[in-house]
Symmetry: C2
Subunit: 466 residues, 2 copies
């Protein structure tokens, strides 16, 4: 695609729309805006435009559409696949200042928000009113717009589903600047093709999310977590399906290993209780009576210790313990980053029955390539986060091993019925693996959809299927 390069006339028009203070030209921009959290993809926009409302976005898109200027949307920039990196330059449209709570509707149990509201702000806002927004991606400073764009998953997906399941309606600005509304406050909808569901997970390539109507439920009144050490990874991972099908659905089942905990201890600079074992499951139950939770905890404790080979069961019941264990879990990505010079990530999702075999494969690959590959994961839902660490490898060697290693990782995942991405998306970094996974027919269907929504390819160019 060939786009118009931004010149001074364009800058003046954009300044007119957003105000001079909210347009920052490339030469004055911080380097942060040229990459996302993982920093594997780098590119500078011609300018950053900080928008305050949907009307500004509509005006900008009308102009960009007419002038053929590429536009890439950015929220908090916490993505891991380069999805918000403006690889064709043009306008980087920053929605982080669109962070109003528009309406909490207690009767329809919906929350209307602008796209720049942060995930952690949503929890705080609704929980004090007795409501619950269940999706629980690890990065709480992500914007809800970014969560919707990637169909973010998180730790509670096995019980509560992913972001898509919690979005009832979307307002979207199309590439030509037109504002459209999909869905609404309704619980059911079978009125034509599922445009809302198609927009969710389309990573800013089909339209710009300018408002979302989220589903809420009454806040579960009680929850409890257990940290369960096992002698080794195989026993821990093999226990998961048995735990899940034995009784009721846990809220979350996370898998931790000694190595990840050690990174977290170093990174956080403090000890984590019971961190001496090789492998752990961290299991949470929630419910509306204490007796129900007690019953869940008791049944699963007995099962783990009596039948599944667990060493012990530690109840994470005091505030101090909760803080300690969950902050360790929350710090994994940062801790792994801090442990090395550079990382790249593989966010595969597999049928949960295949996790153990896949982690075996990963360990063998680590040995054969001589690359350190720590991982952690949502084993309950089959989604693993696996990190290749550069350590002291030279650039050329690192790139070679990374290419070779990733090809093998994804190939193995596809063989086992897995997908490229469970929750981080395709963005720029994983495009070739998506093509390999779904094949030319599905890529053609996706391109047809892109052509329909964005015929001149000005929205987030070069991403997902391009």
């Amino acid at each position: 695609m060939k786009y118009k390069a931004i010149d001074q006339d364009d800058i003046l028009v954009l300044q007119e729309i957003v105000g001079a203070d909210f347009l920052i030209p490339k030469q004055e921009l911080e380097e942060d805006y040229a990459h996302d959290e993982l920093q594997t993809v780098h590119a500078w926009p011609d300018c950053l435009v900080q928008v305050k409302n949907k009307d500004q976005i509509s005006q900008i898109m009308k102009y960009a559409y007419r002038m053929n200027i590429p536009v890439t949307v950015r929220g908090s920039g916490t993505g891991l696949v380069g999805g918000c990196v403006p690889i064709e330059g043009g306008i980087l449209l920053d929605t982080s200042k669109m962070n109003r709570f528009v309406e909490l509707d207690p009767i329809n149990m919906t929350l209307r928000v602008e796209p720049g509201v942060l995930l952690m702000e949503i929890y705080e806002y609704v929980e004090k009113e007795g409501f619950f927004y269940a999706p629980d991606p690890g990065e709480k400073s992500a914007t809800i717009g970014g969560n919707i764009a990637t169909n973010a998953g998180g730790m509670r997906a096995m019980k509560y589903g992913v972001t898509r399941d919690w979005v009832r309606g979307l307002e979207v600005v199309l590439p030509n600047g037109e504002l459209v509304s999909f869905g609404g406050k309704v619980v059911k909808n079978s009125s034509g093709y599922a445009l809302k569901d198609l927009l969710i997970g389309s990573e800013g390539t089909l339209g710009i999310i300018v408002e979302a109507t989220l589903k809420l439920i009454p806040l579960p009144k009680y929850s409890a977590s257990m940290l369960i050490p096992f002698p080794n990874r195989i026993q821990a991972v093999s226990a998961v399906p048995k735990i899940i099908t034995h009784h009721v659905l846990p809220t979350a089942v996370e898998f931790l290993e000694k190595e990840s905990l050690r990174f977290s201890e170093e990174y956080l600079g403090k000890k984590i209780p019971h961190a001496q074992y090789d492998a752990y499951l961290l299991i949470t139950y929630d419910g509306n009576t204490q007796s129900e939770i007690d019953y869940d905890i008791q049944r699963i404790s007995e099962l783990c210790v009596n039948t599944l080979g667990a060493i012990d069961v530690y109840l994470i019941d005091t505030d101090e313990r909760k803080q300690s264990v969950w902050s360790a879990r929350g710090a994994f990505l940062e801790a792994i980053k801090a442990s090395t010079t550079q990382i790249d990530e593989c966010d595969v999702v597999l049928p949960r029955s295949m996790i153990s075999e896949y982690l075996d494969f990963t360990q063998q690959l680590s040995q054969s390539l001589q690359v350190r590959i720590p991982y952690f994961g949502h084993v309950g839902d089959g989604n693993l986060h696996i990190y290749f660490c550069k350590d002291d490898l030279e650039d050329q060697k690192w790139n070679e091993l990374l290419t070779k290693g990733f090809e093998q990782m994804y190939q193995k995942a596809f063989e086992l019925g897995g997908k490229v991405s469970g929750e981080h998306g395709i963005g720029y970094a994983k495009k070739s693996y998506l093509k390999e996974q779904v094949g030319p027919t599905q890529i053609q269907l996706m391109k047809g959809i892109k052509d329909t929504f964005d015929p001149t390819y000005i929205l987030n160019p070069g991403k997902v299927i391009q």
Copy 2:
């Protein structure tokens, strides 16, 4: 669109694919195949083809694609908007003999089925293994293929979501005969555009579902229902949001009126207990401990009687009572049909806060038009089923009143934030209302999607957006 009319050569080719016994030409076909359950749309296919596997479907589509012959898919024919009626003639592709259970995977908690498996067969199959498939559309003899094609909802949607939320993967034959696979056994997926979710609810216009991988969860061990009479409709309906937000999410909240119960009593030929009151809520809770359910029942009973004006609370606890009440609820549609000469249906879904206002409007409309308009509904999720009854009206008058009445019903629904269809789809009968609701831009986007999947418009022509 101009299609090739089927001739004897085509018949021979199709017979070759499926066997002579499984092709029934128009002249030998029962009249049932010229309409669906509601019978508001009539059209004959040139032939009915009963397929037994995906390979036959692929061969048929390759031929139909080459020859430009329209193909309409039919399951049990229980639809209510003419979605499976072959309005351009051609091939009526009957998938009801593709009714194999392919695999129950207890570890990944998934069920793979062919599209012709009936909803009631799925419940029976999975519940005896301790699993639960939650979507609960009223028509249990519908096929799962039809449920997926319309994104069917049902009574448990407020707690468990709709069919889309329970489909992890789809195998689909595209109009050109190619077999593709979307999703799989994975719990999360953020790998390119959501083609699976787009296929769901596309009413057989984008591809033919040849296999589905459904999500299961452990079967809740206990459930209990209450029949709660109120002095009038307004009090009953107004109680719903308070019940829902007061405590935990009920599994289902159904609204019944004396009139519907009376139809059911007549239709079933037996008395329903406690049927003397004007308005009722039928509320269900489920869970995994008896104490939890007891607690739910007690809290909601107290709330209803002490605060919300309920007359009493009848626990539907014995098998006899369950059978009696649920068979009455299940018979509503049949009973309303039996009470008149002809009906047409409005399946609107509204924000649940708008139900009371909308039912007021419906009653006023019934009086002003002098048409009997009984209704019932899933008030918990805002989805109403409203029936215009012809009774002894003359055809011309009936058509006039129906057109006028439906226009007003949908117009009012849109004003209140409602949608054309909660769960029955658009099919042929509701196309004009969809256009009115979503406007030309969204219709154009949907047409672009149709062009991408089915460029020659041979699949279920004349439906949804055409």
